[in-house]
Amino acid sequence: MDLAGFLFDAFSLPFMARALAVMAVLSLVAGVVGVLVNLRGLEFISDGLTHAVFPGIAVGFVWGGQQGLFAGAMIAALVAAVTLTLIARSSVPTDAGIAVVFTAMFSVGVIVVTREADYAGQLEQLLFGRLLTVGPAEVVQTIVICGVALLVVLVTLKEQVFRAFDHTGFTAAGYRPLLLDLLLNSAIALVVVAASSAVGNLLVLAVLIVPGAVARLLTSRLWLLFPLAALFSGVAAWLGLALGYAASVDFGVDLPSGATVVLVLVAGHAVVLLARLAVDRVRGRTAR
């Protein structure tokens, strides 16, 4: 099979095309939001959010199946975003607060799911996603939720960057950081929700964090970070899906698609990191 066949053939199948559509939209938005996560150092808070959204997903799923999943996740996400913003403002050490509240919520989610008869399969789905079986309705839901997250971030982008760079200067200029923090945390939560059925609750974090980190390695030009992160994660998603398909069809190896995409993301990060180190080393030598 040639390269073009590897890259394009799989996506003539409707379920593969849907998976690609979901991953493409998700990558674009997670890339942009992820750059802000990186600039603000919100990786741990994002992890907290993925844990917090889980009980919402679980309750929604048990209560209303696939349709309930989005509704439940959405409610949990917004509650978590507000709670988290307030914890971060309080005098309690933030990391401990987040860890306590959100692992507790995750446990609640696990207990809710285990009340169901066939819980093992469902738990797996919720944690690791089911990218290849997303239906047309979920594609639309993903696009809408990602669209809202992207809008929230784009409307406040220059202010978010200002706040990330210099909190004191930002407040002194007359801005209210609380509002911006609420908006950014909500956008992160929305990405977590949108990604939940595709790559699952546990792997969302990679989609949020890896592209931003890669973009930081590739450039120190501020406004280039956002398109680079989105582009990188889009390409990784595409390659990951094509790779999973080829492994299954040509070699008979069944790879879970969400995890394959994440591994491609991480492999891409490793390549870029090594390249960066090599470049810095060469530059260091010529500078001396």
Partner: protein
């Protein structure tokens, strides 16, 4: 507002982070085109007063008026924070940092226009950093970073500037550049409140002095206020020598 309206009027103001007041009973005025030096030992409330005037720390008593208004309009007050808190790895150029000073008057969703870019170029020119406009902020020296943040404070054309320890850790070249900038700003009618523990510097650029030590020790024209007695009361427990020309404090890195 008329020509006699002070740029800043603080009357009986107290500020507090929590239950205990951090700074009490501050009263002074600052006229356009003049500079007040804010002098006191570490922890005497210099930064607290600057942040309190900006509204970053709650005021628990008294009044603060900027250009005769209780709430300063966007862009009328410029602030130079201490630079130590900034991430040197942050991917941003000096020019982009200075542009942040225009964001408030620019408003949400609007991108900088040609006018904004010209204002940034002028501010960089004022602080003498035009050649470094495209440099990454974290690559600049400490003194250049300070001048860069000063440009950010200037770029919205403020009438009042609050500078927090602008001369701390500056080499002579940056120090002279900054003194020159302060003089030019005063000539343009900008009022400045400058915190420092460099008494010599206070004498060089400020008409009036406010001595702080948890509360107000003294305020007035610098030659009247900078007496041995006042300075000793401000820096309690720290030996102070004084002659006709200079005040020398132990640990003070003067020239």
């Amino acid at each position: 507002m008329n020509a006699n309206t002070p740029a800043l009027a603080v009357s009986g103001a107290s500020f507090s982070y929590g239950r205990e007041p951090a700074l009490e009973q501050i009263t002074f005025e600052l006229a356009p085109g003049e500079a007040v030096a804010l002098i006191g030992p570490n922890g005497s409330g210099k930064s607290t007063l600057l942040k309190g005037i900006l509204g970053l720390i709650p005021r628990v008593g008294g009044t603060v008026e900027v250009l005769g208004e209780a709430t300063a309009a966007a862009g009328t007050v410029g602030y130079l924070p201490q630079t130590e808190e900034l991430d040197p790895q942050f991917p941003i150029t000096l020019e982009q940092v200075v542009m942040m000073g225009r964001y408030r008057s620019l408003g949400w969703l609007r991108l900088p226009s040609k006018r904004d870019r010209e204002a940034v170029a002028r501010a960089l020119d004022t602080v003498g950093l035009t050649a470094r406009a495209k440099s990454r902020f974290g690559e600049l020296s400490g003194g250049q970073q300070k001048r860069g943040l000063l440009a950010r404070a200037l770029v919205s054309g403020p009438r009042l500037l609050l500078l927090d320890e602008p001369f701390n850790g500056l080499d002579p070249e940056n120090r002279d550049a900054l003194i020159g900038t302060v003089e030019r700003l005063k000539a343009r009618g900008v009022a400045l409140l400058v915190s420092t523990h460099d008494l010599e510097l206070a004498r060089a650029v400020c008409e009036e002095v406010l001595l702080l030590n948890g509360s107000q020790v003294a305020f007035g024209p610098r030659d009247r206020v900078l007496t041995l007695d006042n300075v000793q009361r401000t820096f309690q427990g720290v030996g102070v020598e004084m002659d006709e020309h200079t005040v020398v404090l132990p640990g003070h890195e003067g020239h």
